[in-house]
Amino acid sequence: MLILFRSNHSFDKELSIGEISYNFIPLIMWDDEQLKNGLRSGRRDAILQIYEQYHRRIVSWIIRNSGSEPEAEDIFQDALTTVYQKLQDGLKIDHQLYTYLFSICRNLWLKRLRDDRVLRNGDDQELHHLTLEDPVDLTDQQLKEQIFRRKFAQMGKSCQQILKLAFSGKSPKEIADLLSLKSEKQATNRKSYCKQQLAKLVQNDPLYKELKR
């Protein structure tokens, strides 16, 4: 573990005494194995570390290669979810976490690029040494699953709560008791309404529309 004091900005730049802000944040930088283990456990602090260290570089690459910021954010989230899933399934990642994560992002982005967009090879070559020989690929079904999870996480807390209980197998009566609702019917109606909202959010997702074609 390396302990640094730096201002909360780009991970890439070297800092000199003259550049350190008057208001800096103590930061403990995790090494690669610690990040992988933390991510495997779904630890919030590990995920935040990954964001701090890798997010800007990867998002910048996608934006330089014809992506919008919302697309880049989605790609980064989907890739992180994929890595988590692989770790949960028992996969041992031999590569550096950044290399693995970037390769998944790159693959996801290449899948989404349309014919009329141009991949700027100049920027790609810059990071060429980071490309895996056998990059992780996601099926359309897996991509749809990612969309569902992303949209669910963006819903209001009330709908998240009720859907989480419903999907975990709780009956309407149990949901009504846990959430102090008036009746089972109210629990059923709210679950039904929230599921409808989720379906609408997924249907309106640009990637979902592309996958449908």
Partner: protein
């Protein structure tokens, strides 16, 4: 007759009465939109049966928000640019915006364009008493559909702060206000919705708010929203946004 989404939920969970099931399945064969809805409901059940992945998705979204908040509040962001340069940029932007405010626009053109391009958003609600919505909300949506906009606004108002129906109620309340010409009240409602949590009505809000801005002679704001629409791949109002930008060039 129950609401459509209740029927879909009953069918997907195997709780639809046998007497209704055959009709519903006949409908599925000829209605691809309904078929897609059923597929979505089934997929949701499959995806979220994995609770670990669901929890991870929630944690990830929380962390993303925390990271973004940190980035926005970072004091080091602008430290390499001297303050007087930022004051100069801010003054230039302010002068530009003031200039735009006095830029001659034709009220008639905005009005004509609005009349040509605006139609009230359709409301889909069942009259039946077994509707999923609470009765006052159902009546509100029926009032909206019947173009009784003032009544719709009154009936929708209590629901705008509801945890479940707040998003829907705010959206339709603003629609009713816009349809009855009360643009100054519709605009802040939609601005608040856009700034809040993700809503299924986001794309529609972006477009209708842009129309409000046109009607209110706030052309730059309308153009900004239209540009955001175009920056979103496969946006439902992509063509409309292009038309707006062509009709109101900068």
């Amino acid at each position: 007759m129950t609401e459509l989404h209740e029927q879909i939920e009953q069918y997907v969970s195997g709780k639809m009465p046998a007497s209704e099931q055959e009709d519903f399945e006949s409908q599925l064969k000829v209605d691809p939109v309904l078929d897609e809805q059923v597929t979505l409901y089934r997929q949701a059940d499959d995806v979220f049966s994995n609770t670990a992945m669901t929890d991870f998705a929630l944690t990830l979204e929380d962390v993303k928000q925390e990271y973004k908040n940190r980035q926005q509040s970072s004091p080091g962001k602008n430290r390499q640019i001297p303050p007087f340069v930022w004051y100069g940029i801010a003054a230039s932007v302010l002068l530009f915006l003031i200039g735009l405010a006095f830029w001659p626009t034709s009220p008639t053109d905005s009005l004509a364009w609005d009349q040509e391009n605006y139609t009230p958003y359709p409301a889909q609600v069942q009259r039946n008493a077994d509707s999923n919505y609470p009765e006052p909300l159902r009546y509100a949506l029926i009032a909206y559909r019947e173009k009784q906009y003032n009544q719709a606004v009154l009936l929708l108002d209590p629901f705008t702060t509801d945890d479940y129906y707040g998003s829907l109620a705010s959206f339709y309340k603003a629609q009713a206000l816009m349809a009855s010409g009360e643009i100054q009240k519709a605009i802040p409602l939609w601005e608040t919705q856009l700034a809040g949590t993700e809503t299924a009505y986001r794309q529609s809000i972006q477009w209708y708010l842009a129309l409000c801005y046109i009607r209110n002679e706030e052309i730059p704001k309308a153009r900004t929203l239209a540009s955001e629409i175009l920056a979103t791949p496969a946006h439902a109002y992509e063509d409309s946004a292009k038309k707006l930008l062509n009709n109101f060039p900068s």
